[in-house]
Every structure is written in C-alpha cells, then in structure tokens.
C-alpha cells in the first residue's frame, strides 16, 4: 500500500500523465478529444427521466466520460438494434430482455460482465447467464400479480379471499369469486338459469392469449414446464401443461367468466381497456403496467397474489439487464458504466422513483412506498418475488417463434383448436426454429 503521502502524489501524477498520454495517442480532434462519449439506449420514456439523473451522477464521478441517452419506442428498438449490430454501430450499453438475450448472446453481440451475482434476484441472474457466465448487469424486474377493481368487489358484496386457488376440474376460490363477479344484463351469474353469455355486463376475470401474464403461469403452477433447460427445447405439450392450458380456455368458453377471445386476442385485443373501463374485476398484469392503468382508472385499484395452482404459486418474473456491446469502441468505459448501473445508488433512485423493482436485493421498499403514496398497495408483488418465480423461455429463436405461437394459441382461445392440438403444433413449430 502507498503509505507516504509523497509516494501517493507521485502515483497520482504518474496516473494522470498516463491518462493524458493515452488520450493523446487516440488523438482525434482538439482539446476535448480525451473525453469519451458513450451511448446508452433504452425504450421507456418514463424511465428516461430517471436515467437522466443517474447519468448526471455518473458523469460527475467520471469527468472523462459523457453519456448520451437514446430513446427508441419498443417496436423500433429491436429492429434498430439489429440493424445497428449488423452495421457494427450498436450503442455501448443498452437494455436487454430475457427473450431477446439468447439470440444476441449466442451470436457474440454481448460482452461478459463482472458482478456479484449473489446480490441480485436469482431469476434475473439466471435469465442472463450463458455457459456459466453473466452477460448483462441485472437492472430490474417486473412480476405478474393480480390487479383488481375494488369498486366492483364492493358493489357485488364480494370479499377478495385471502388466497385464490384453482384446479383443472373447476374447483377453488378463483372460479367461485369470478362467477360471483360476472353479471349479465339481466343481473344473472354464470351457472344460473337464464344467464346469457352473449350479454355479459361485467366479467369476473381476464383470461386471454397472453403468455407472460396468463397461460405460462397456469402451466408453471400446475407443474408443467416451458423448456426442458435454459437454451433447450420446448416441452409445454406434456399432460400437466395441456391441463393448465385447458383451464385458461375453460374460463372463457366453458365458465363464461372471461370475455370471448374475439375481443381479447392479440394484436388487436382490448383487455386492458376493458379493465380500465370497469368491465373486468380481476386482471393478471405485470407491475410495469401500473403507471398506465392506475392514473386513468376511475375506480380503486387493488393488488392481490396470483392464484395458487395444484403445484402451488409460480409466477413469471421478467428481468432486464444492462448489456455491454462486444464491439464497443470504449470497452472499459462501457463496462464501468454498466457496473455503476448495478450499484446501490442508481438502483435506489429508480426504485424510489416508482419506475421498477430494482434487481439489487433489499431496495424494494422504495418502490412500495412510491405506490403507497398513490394509494396502491403493491406489497403482494414483493411477496411473490420471494416465492417461486420462473423466467420466460430462455432459448434461441423465441423472437421468431412468438408470432406463430400467438397465432396458434389465438385459435385455441377461440375454441377452434383443442389445447392438446395447439400445444403440439406450437411445440413442433418452436422446436423447428431452434438452431
């Protein structure tokens, strides 16, 4: 260690001289040439405001580095990123999702990063690990919980049970509660004589073709599996998975407690609007949807734990990571920025601003407090995250498969394909896209 102050000074001077030298040797332009500019790309315009503060703090601590934030809408984000990667001009640090990750990492686009993985949520760490190495600093996570319309519960005189449960044969508190909250124009509930499923005024539950917040959760909480292993094959056509898919479809076509697929199938489905309009009582959604629902809702929004299936509760937890471009012109600075984004200071800022649950453990309370001030108790999301969670399928080809998968499952929710047929077709199509 440097004990004498004089030696310390000498070391500092030497370091400064070396920095200046390397600065000169890269020698482009005039006096500010030794200043490195990094590009940071994201898609969320609400979070951009938070990251402007984060980047200002980073620039202050690292006077030699400037960060430019680039915002692209989600749809364009991936097309542009792909095009930039092909051209060799991708941003230095950018957001990465679990479903896009396998394509990008296997093609060598991402740099491995150093991070103390024990400090982050393990599902997020697992989502960005490839061949034993971490390729992205864990940023945040979103989790599926049950949003519900407290006003509709009150009007119907129904209490939200302490625990919602479901089984494939139709018993459990979920279906019971959903029935009580489903009312047709004549005031009748499903199962009563004279109930008209074509003229339902409010639905008890939202069951629709959405993999992240719907059927993947039923599959997982029934003991089924999506893929056999990370970077493996699709297997969600086994008996347990098919039974779970049947449950989701039955809520719509057999029990009539959820709107018909003609109104909810992607890409044109309007289920979020229906919930916002007060026509649906219970709506499984990712917490990231809250800012788009809570301020516009004309009713009090409650959050509950997702229903427990025969194999317990298991919900999707979707993490994001700060990825570093493998061909960045400033690899050290880019790495420094990514590492900084994984530390306490920026992650706390994003949590306290109510943007997302930080990936770094122990900071959730800031997010909870933010929403408490807006009169929404989001603590069930935190409880869920401490229990059993699963990531979206981590395997190559998912992005190419997604459109086909949604098309096939649209048919299933319409009742045109049986869950077994749909799952068989989807698994065959998905496994055909694997390299």
């Amino acid at each position: 260690m440097l004990k004498s102050p004089r030696i310390r000074w000498a070391g500092a001077l030497l370091g400064a001289a070396m920095l200046t030298l390397t600065g000169c040797s890269s020698g482009e332009g005039g006096g500010s040439a030794d200043k490195v500019t990094l590009t940071y790309r994201l898609w969320d315009d609400q979070q951009k405001a938070g990251y402007e503060k984060v980047m200002a703090a980073f620039e202050k601590a690292n006077p030699g580095i400037d960060v430019t934030i680039e915002l692209l809408p989600y749809d364009q984000y991936w097309t542009k990123l792909t095009a930039d990667v092909v051209a060799g001009t991708a941003p230095d640090v950018f957001w990465m999702t679990p479903t896009q990750f396998p394509e990008f990492v296997t093609k060598g686009v991402l740099s491995p990063v150093q991070a103390d993985t024990a400090k982050y949520h393990q599902t997020v760490v697992g989502s960005f690990t490839y061949e034993g190495k971490l390729y992205g600093v864990p940023k945040d996570w979103g989790i599926v919980g049950l949003l519900y319309n407290k006003d509709l519960f009150e009007q119907a005189g129904v209490e939200m049970p302490d625990k919602l449960t479901w089984t494939a044969d139709g018993t459990g508190t979920l279906l019971d509660t959903a029935r009580k909250l489903t009312v047709d124009e004549g005031g009748k509930h499903p199962g009563e004589a004279g109930f008209d499923p074509a003229k339902v005024k409010t639905y008890g539950f939202a069951s629709w073709n959405h993999y992240q917040t719907q059927w993947m959760n039923w599959v997982s909480s029934n003991g089924g599996k999506l893929v056999d292993k990370p970077f493996g094959k699709y297997v969600f056509n086994d008996a347990a998975s098919v039974q779970a898919l049947q449950f989701g479809v039955d809520l719509v076509n057999k029990h009539h407690v959820a709107p018909p697929a003609t109104q909810t199938n992607p890409p044109t489905g309007k289920i979020t609007d229906m919930f916002k309009a007060g026509r649906i009582a219970m709506f499984p959604a990712n917490n990231a949807l809250l800012p788009f629902v809570a301020p516009e809702a004309t009713f009090e929004v409650g959050v509950a734990l997702m229903p427990e299936g025969p194999a317990g509760r298991s919900v999707n937890l979707n993490g994001l990571a700060e990825a570093v471009y493998a061909k960045s012109e400033h690899p050290q600075e880019a790495m420094k920025l990514a590492a900084y984004l994984g530390t306490q200071e920026p992650q706390k800022l994003m949590a306290d601003g109510g943007y997302a649950f930080p990936a770094l453990n122990g900071l959730s309370q800031g997010y909870v407090d933010y929403w408490k001030a807006k009169k929404v108790d989001v603590s069930p999301f935190v409880d869920e995250a401490e229990g059993s969670t699963f990531p979206l399928p981590i395997t190559t080809g998912f992005t190419g498969f997604e459109t086909k998968l949604n098309q096939i499952f649209n048919e299933m929710y319409l009742g045109k394909l049986s869950p077994q047929e749909a799952a068989d077709q989807a698994v065959a199509a998905g496994n055909a896209t694997l390299e």
């Binding site: 990667v85 394509e103 093609k107 697929a261 890409p267 044109t268 949604n406 098309q407 649209n410």
Partner: protein, 264 residues
C-alpha cells in the same frame, strides 16, 4: 438491389460472418410452402384493393369534377385519410372492427345483420385489412384522376355529344381512353404499393389469424428481424422484386399500345 441479390447467396445470421452458399437459399425458397402461401395472400390483397380503389377514385373524381358548392372542401376532405399514419389508422379501425362494441357491427345490427368477427376470422381478416387500404388511398388517387379529367379538352366531349353519343358512350369511348396516362400512373404506383403492404398488417393482425394476412413483406420482416436470417430475407426480397417487375412490365405492355399523350 445488387447488394440484396448478392446477399441472397449467403447464409448470414447477424454477427456471424456471411458464408457463401450459392443457390441454397433459392432451393430452400422452392420448397418453402409458407412463402408461396404468403405470395398467394399478397396476390389476394392486391386483387381486393386495386380494382376497388381505382374504380372508386375515378367515380369520385367524376363527381367532384362538376361545378357545385363546396367542391374544394370535399376534394380536401377525401385526401385526409391518406395523410394519416398507417399505425394510427390501424388503431382506429381496430375499434371499428371490434365484433361486439365496434361501429361496423353495431351499424350492421341496426339492419338485422350479425357481422363477422372481422379480424379474428380467417375469411374476413384480409378483406378487412384491404378495406382500410382502399379507404386510405381512394381520395389520394382521386386527385390524379381529377387532374387527368381536367386535362381533357371539353371540345372533345362536346364534339362527341354533337355526333349523338350518349353519356355512357362519351365516357367509354372518349373520357376513359384519354385518361389512359393517368390510369397507367395510378395503377402502376398503387400495385407497387399494394405488393409492399406492411404497416397495416403489422398493426391490425400481426399476420393472423392462422396466417391469413401474412403478406410477403410481413414474412420478409419476420425472417430478417425476428429470425435474424438476413440471407434468406434477401432471397425473399428478390422474389418480391421479381414479382413487382413482372407485373409492372405487363402493365407497360398493356397501356403502351393504348395510350396517347398528345391531345393537341
């Protein structure tokens, strides 16, 4: 274009170095049922759009080529849809096509018809998407026909009338043949546009239901940016180019013999 043709001879997946594979992509194309299906869908889309929007545009132009009050306002109104962004248009039309709450089925219900589930019915989804395109482009095409009509000297029609030609005869024998340059321009540009349709499909149906709206350009996007298969996407682009080239050449031949540009 040359780059696309060269690329189509390579196997290129994002960062991996492009590997020359000769005509492999073209062999794959020959056996690729999905692509031929997309080509069929594209042809169906073109056949639904072009005749309807051309006839409507011409009829509208004839109507608005008369002296009447507020004609300028009407002319402008009909062009407005053309100026809107396809994605926004698609959002609005998604509401109109909603099977239960949508404007279209509500209107049909008033006259006792139960409308179909427009966008989730494989038989109706493509006509529905085509209808949006017709609605969007008719007014714009009307402008060209209007300009064309105003370029036809009135004496020619007057002379025909003096010779005893009926209104129908004047239209078929005088107006329409003299509109050939406009007709040529409108159909060629519209056909090229229709073959390349993407935005409305992307926002309204995402290729579904059951691939019934998966036009060729949608498949190219899917192959390049979702499956990251750039070499094969280039092959598909070459196919689309070839189809458009053939159709355009056919049009040039058809109109070439029948068109006179000199009205003096």
């Amino acid at each position: 274009m040359v780059i696309v043709l060269v690329l189509s001879l390579f196997d290129w997946e994002l960062l991996s170095a492009p590997e020359f594979v000769g005509l492999d992509n073209y062999h794959r194309l020959a056996a690729d049922g999905e692509t031929w299906h997309s080509l069929g869908v594209t042809a169906g889309y073109v056949l639904l759009c072009i005749p309807l929007q051309t006839v409507l545009a011409l009829a509208l132009a004839m109507l608005l080529n008369q002296r009447m009050k507020g004609v300028r306002l009407y002319r402008s109104l009909f062009v407005i849809p053309w100026m809107a962004t396809p994605i926004v248009l698609a959002l609005i039309w998604n509401w109109i096509f909603d099977p239960r709450d949508g404007a279209l089925n509500s209107a049909l219900a008033l006259v006792g018809i139960t409308g179909p589930d427009w966008l989730s019915d494989p038989d109706w989804a493509l006509p529905a998407v085509a209808l949006v395109s017709v609605w969007q482009h008719t007014g714009y095409n009307m402008l060209f026909f209007l300009a064309g009509l105003q370029g036809i000297p009135q004496e020619l029609r007057d002379a025909a009338a003096t010779d005893g030609a009926t209104a129908a005869q004047r239209f078929w024998r005088v107006t329409l043949p003299l509109l050939n340059p406009t007709m040529f321009f409108v159909t060629v540009t519209n056909l090229i546009g229709a073959f390349q349709v993407f935005d409305t499909v992307y926002a309204m149906t995402d290729g579904g239901p059951s691939g019934s709206t998966e036009v060729l350009n949608f498949r190219i996007f899917q192959t390049a940016f979702k499956e990251f298969d750039f070499g094969y996407a280039a092959t598909l682009s070459a196919l689309l180019f070839a189809v458009i080239l053939l159709v355009t050449l056919a049009q040039v031949r058809f109109f070439g013999k029948r068109t006179t540009y000199d009205l003096s």
